[in-house]
Structures are given as C-alpha cells and as structure tokens.
Amino acid sequence: MKHSFFKSLFAVTTLSLTLAGFQSCKPKGGQSAAAGDAAAKTYVAPGKYDEFYNIVSGGFSGQMSVYGLPSGRLFRVIPVFSVDPEKGWGYSEETKPMLNTSHGFVPWDDLHHIALSQTKGEHDGRWAFGNANNTPRIARIDMKTFRTAEILEIPNSAGNHSSPFITENSEYVVAGTRFSVPMGDNLDVPINTYKQNFKGTVSFISVDKDNGGMKVAFQIETPGVNYDLARAGKGKSHGWFFFSCYNSERANTLLEVNASQKDKDFILCVNWKKAEEYVKAGKGTKKAVKYAHNVWNEETQSATSTIENEVVVLNAKDNPDIVYYMPCPKSPHGCDTDPTGEYIVGSGKLAAVIPVFSFTKIQQAIANKTFDGDYEGIPVLKYDAVLHGEVQKPGLGPLHTEFDANGNAYTSFFVSSEIVKWNVKDLKVLDRVPTYYSIGHLCVPGGPTVKPHGKYVIAYNKITKDRYLPTGPELTQSAQLYDITGEKMKLLLDFPTIGEPHYAEAIPASLVMPNSKKIYKLEENKHPQAALGEGKARVERKGNEVHVYMTAIRSHFNPDNIEGVKLGDVVYFHVTNLEQDWDVPHGFAIKGADNAELLIMPGETSTLKWKPERAGVYPMYCTDFCSALHQEMQGYIRISPAGSSVPLSFSTGTNMPAAEPAAAPAQK
C-alpha cells in the first residue's frame, strides 16, 4: 500500500515535471491553439473559390495533389509516377509509355518536391515539376490541363532527392544524387570500394522556354557524397546553385552513425553559368548511358518513350571555379535562398544553430582564395569568411526555410516540432508556434520566389497521432495552415493530405485558373485511331487484332453490339469522347478485363487493350455518370471460340424504320 502510494506520487511528480518541462520549451496554447477567428479565416463559402492553389507532393503515393487555400479542400490528385487505375494512367495504351524507364515499365515512385515554373524569379503559372526519388526522374506537369506532360529519367544517378528545384527564369531544374553510385563501364564493384568507385552527380536539366521540353544539358561529377536538397540563386546570386549534402565521411553502411561523424558537412556552390560556358567550349566528356525520355503529345493524345544514349559530364576536379564546398554544421538538409538572393540558409538536421551564408562574402572568399583546404580536390570555403551569422537557439533539428516579403524567414524544426519565425538580417528569433506533429517541409505562398505572396505558412507534418479519428494503424497524413499576417503566427486549420506530403508550393489562383483548359477540341484531335464523328465508328480486324473505333456521347456508345471476336484475338477499344462540354468525361470498362477503366475527357481518344480468355458475351458500360440516361450507356461484345465462323459485325441502335408496325410483337 505504502509502496504503491509512493509509486503513484512519484509518477504524478514525474508527469507534472515532464509537463512543465514540455510546456517551458513550447509556446502556450497546445492542443487548442487555433485562433478564435480561425473558422472565418478558412471558410470558403459554397460556390466560392479559394485564393491559392496548393500543389503538394504525394510522397510515396508517387503523385501530386492539388488543394485550395485557405480551405484545405482537395481538388485533384494528378497521376505522375504511379499508375492510377481511376484515370487509366499507366493502363491505357496512350499513357503506358509515360512510365517507361531504362529498367522497363515502372509502376510506382516516390515524389518528394515541387518546383513551379518562374519568370524573372516570380511564379508564371505554366508548369509544375516533381522528382522521382527512387528511380531517378523529373516530371513536368502542364498547369493548363493538370496532367503530366513529360517525364525524363536521370542517368548516373540514384535517389533523385535533391530535385527538381528551379532557376529564376526556369532555365534549369536540377537533380542531385542522394545515393552516390558507381559510374562508368564497370558497375559491378564491391560495395566497400565506395571511396574509390562511387561518385555523386548534380545534373542540370534545361527547360525549353516555349514548350517546357526537358533535356539533360550536363552533369557535374563530384566526390561520392549524398546530395540532399538544393536551391537556385536569385537576383544577385542568379547563375549559382546551392546543394546541401551529407555523408562527407563517404560511409556505405550504418549511415545513421557513420555519416554523422564530422562536425560539418557541406553545401556545394555551383556556378552554373560558368559550367554552361565550359560545356559550350567542349570541356565536357560524352558518356554512354541509357535513360528514358517520355513525352506526352496533346495533339495525338498519346505518349512516346525514347531511350537516350549519351550525356555530357563535366568533372568538377578538372574544371576549377565551377564548384566550391561551403562547410555547414551537422548533416545539412534544407538549403534555402532568401528573396534577395543574398542569404543562403543552411539547416543541419542535428544542429542547434541555423547558419546563414552571405552570397557577397562567398564571392569575396572565392576571389581572395579564402579556402580551408580542399575536399577531394575541390576547394572548401572558410566557414567564418562566408558566414553572415548564426541564428542562436532557434530550436532542435532545423529542416527547411521559407520566406515572406518582409525580410522574415520561417524554419521548420522536426525534433522540437515547431515553426520558428526569425529575421534574416539581424538573425533574431521573433516567434515560434508548435506543429502537430513533427513538421518536415513548410510552404509560404511564393516563398521560394523573389516576391513571396505571404499570408500563410503551411506545415507538412510527419506524424498525425491524435489529430484525427483513428483509422487503424495507418493514419492520415496531414498539413496545417497558419496565418502569418500578424506578428504572431496563428494556427487556423488542420487538413488531411494524400501519401506523405513533402515539399509543396502555393500559387495565387489568379495566375493559374484563367488558363485552365475545359475541353479538347475535336477539330484538334490528331489521335491516329480517333473516330471523329459517329459515322467513323467501326470495327476492323487486322490478323488477330480487333480494333474497335468507338464513339461516346450522352448517353450511348457506337458501336454497342459487337460480334465475331474470337479467343486468341486481342481487342483494342479506341474510344473517342465526342462531347465538347466542360466536365463531361465518359468512362469505359469491360467485364473481366485485366486492366483498368478508361476515363476519357471531352474531345479525347483513349485506348483500352483487352485479351479475352473465355467465350461468352461481355458487358461494357460508361463508368462516369454523364446524364439521366447514364445507366443506359452500355453495350455487349460477344467472344466466340477460336475458329468460330461468327462474322465480324457491329452496330448501335439498328432501329427499324419509324413507320413499321410489323416490328411490334404479334399479339396472341
């Protein structure tokens, strides 16, 4: 009895001490921290529009998602690197090539970061880029159609994490290797020869300023460190790119311990304008590689995949004055340039300070050769010479920093689970607010541009725990919206997200919505198998291939009765949606097909491949509710045994002539 009394006393004391301790390092408010007027500030009345689009990475879903701010409402999940049976992405014949790689068709990836296209350092609302972290690729999404328009594989790379970050006129998106890997002719080397054989690369992918087309312009080969994140310079630092990296120890096992030995790792400063000149002057080496380049053609409404065989590589060691390593404490993660382009904020995951570097000082240090030796032949800048200053005691585990238009920075802290606002110039901490829980990335609308739109900061959290109704062991992922218009940051809203949200950008709706495409014009449909008009609907046999050129309109298919298909045949349904009205897609599905549905936008043609395995009559129907008679939008295809003599035939509504009473069944 006595024992248990002391035990409980001890427990209570411990608990209150813990709570007191917990509260002392966190701002007041805790669970009910939402501001009193939060509901009014996030309420978007029925029929009204949000002010911002929030383009959010879908993490291990492989997709990109589109939310409205401030409401947090989900509008669309754009299929990018993972198949999406709902939209036929990766299932229709037209979309399959988009997921082709040098390893063949890859149905999944892990999309971490978003980069919205910029002109003169500001959002232009044209494209969104996303990276594939597993099988290294970059995707470009067309903001007119919210569709993936291009996917480019990155050669000599593994773990494309440090990507796709963009320069201020969208000259380049980049791709830094999170995993260094063996390069060259012999890739089959012992893992413990890491230090000799493994190399890192940072790739510069040029973006065509008219059509957005991507191309691996050049790669810079570097020592085998792990590139983590990156940001382009802007304004005065335009022409430079900054890549954070860890594992300067170059460990190949138990990195948790072995890559955390050194007091400082690096931020790689790349003078890409100079690298461009060197490439032009022929200083690069052409290396034989294999990578896929997949392009969506909006006219033919289909993708092509081309395997490229060559890439230009500049070796950092042999080309001085294009790269410098800048020391940064404790495994730097985030590496963010402020709107003026003068300050580069490094965030060591294990650090207790935030170092802020000065671009002007970097230039001086380079000019004066204020180096601290070299790392594998690459000059290392002297830390004190390039440092603008350190933010002291900001919190624990700084990860990422975004900016507002008033000279303030917002840094996420994973370990202490908070957002800290500080002044970029005087490095003073101004405010802090807790996140629920364990924030990773954060986003201020326009935060990475020269003119942030400000107004909100959004936290993308790693843990949700008790914030939502539980759904078994796996809980929803989540984001949190904070008002930053006042001196104090105020929590306004929690909203669930898909996959795991990593980086996101937010852009004013006014820059995107006016360009949003409503239909594909039938007159512009150049799909080779389109049936442009019901008179063109038909079925053709080519050997054992049966091609159905089908039309869909509210609410019937043409043809909707097909016979004469035999086992052993492969059937291709080329379905053209003849609608020319916004928001009237038709779907197409067929019983037993080992495939997904088609979801065909107005004016578009899509193809479903089907190999019937059993004789019989198979129903097919429209899956997307289209009219009062949607349920009637259905048909049949008859599959006969191999060698059957049923002739190929097709029809829709073979109506008897209107004035023919004989068609009515005789009455008895």
């Binding site: 007159e523 309109i553 043409n558 009062a628």
Partner: protein, 156 residues
C-alpha cells in the same frame, strides 16, 4: 420551461460572445478578386440571336452546306438522324420548316439559355430527357449547320 429559458439565454450569450470576437478581426484588403476573375461563364457562344440577325438566301451556299455537313457528322450525328426519327434528340427532317432560323441557332449555341426560358425547348427536354449538350459550336459554325439542315429539308 425554466430549462428552456436557460438554454435560450446560453445561446444568446454564445451569439454575443461570437459577435464580439469577430468584431475585433481586421479585414484584409483583397488585392485580386478571385471570385470575379474566375466566375464560371455560362455556356454560351455569343449573345442571344434575334430573328433579324439571320438572313437566309436562295440558292443555298453549297460551301456552307458542305462545312455544315462535316460539323453534323463530327458533333451532331450521334444524337440526331436526318430523317424524322427520334434517336437521342429529334430527327432533323423538316426542322427548318417547323422552327425559326434564330430558334435553331440559339438551340445550338445557347442551349442553357433555351432550356431555361424557351417553352418549346423545355418541351423537347421533357420528351428526350437528355439535356442537349453544348458542343462548342460558335455562331458562324452553327449558321453553316443551318444551311445543311435547309439542304436536308430539300431546299436548293
């Protein structure tokens, strides 16, 4: 009864509290009016066409008939036969004899307006039960379709 009064008072108090809270909120100036900018436009292609806006001439303009026929095959044929027979929508035979030219053009280009206010269009919707879709046909293109309809009705 007493309980009711208390709860009514509580509600009142809550309303006051809420009101006093929201009064303190400063209104943000709105730089861009998204609602105005992005307002959905009704699906019309030009304004309502009046009888006086359409002139018919004989003989038919054969070039217009040909273009009109191509549009018919691409965008109309799925639902309209060239006979009197109803498919999804009514057959087109004699449509130019039963309807005024402006009515036909409005039906093609401003179908939402017609279904909202034209009694004849509304009757057709009751009959067919499928709203005639907006097929993104502009007035000029619609005029050519009308020429094709006249040709289909035997005009020369």
């Amino acid at each position: 009864m007493k309980r009711n009064i208390i709860s009514a008072l509580a509600v009142l108090a809550a309303v006051f509290l809420f009101a006093s809270c929201s009064e303190g909120v400063k209104k943000e100036p709105k730089p861009v009016d998204i609602q105005e900018l992005t307002k959905d436009k009704p699906e019309t292609h030009g304004t309502e066409i009046k009888d006086a806006d359409v002139t018919l001439s004989t003989p038919l303009d054969q070039a217009m008939v040909t273009t009109g026929k191509a549009t018919y095959e691409l965008k109309c044929q799925s639902c309209h036969k060239l006979t009197e027979e109803k498919l999804v929508g009514p057959g087109w035979k004699n449509v130019t004899k039963n309807r005024k030219p402006a009515w036909i053009l409005n039906m093609i280009t401003n179908v939402d307006m017609m279904l909202e206010k034209d009694p004849e269009a509304q009757k057709l919707l009751e009959l067919c039960l499928v709203r005639m879709p907006n097929q993104n046909i502009g007035v000029d293109e619609a005029r050519k379709v009308l020429e094709f309809m006249r040709s289909n009705d035997g005009e020369k």
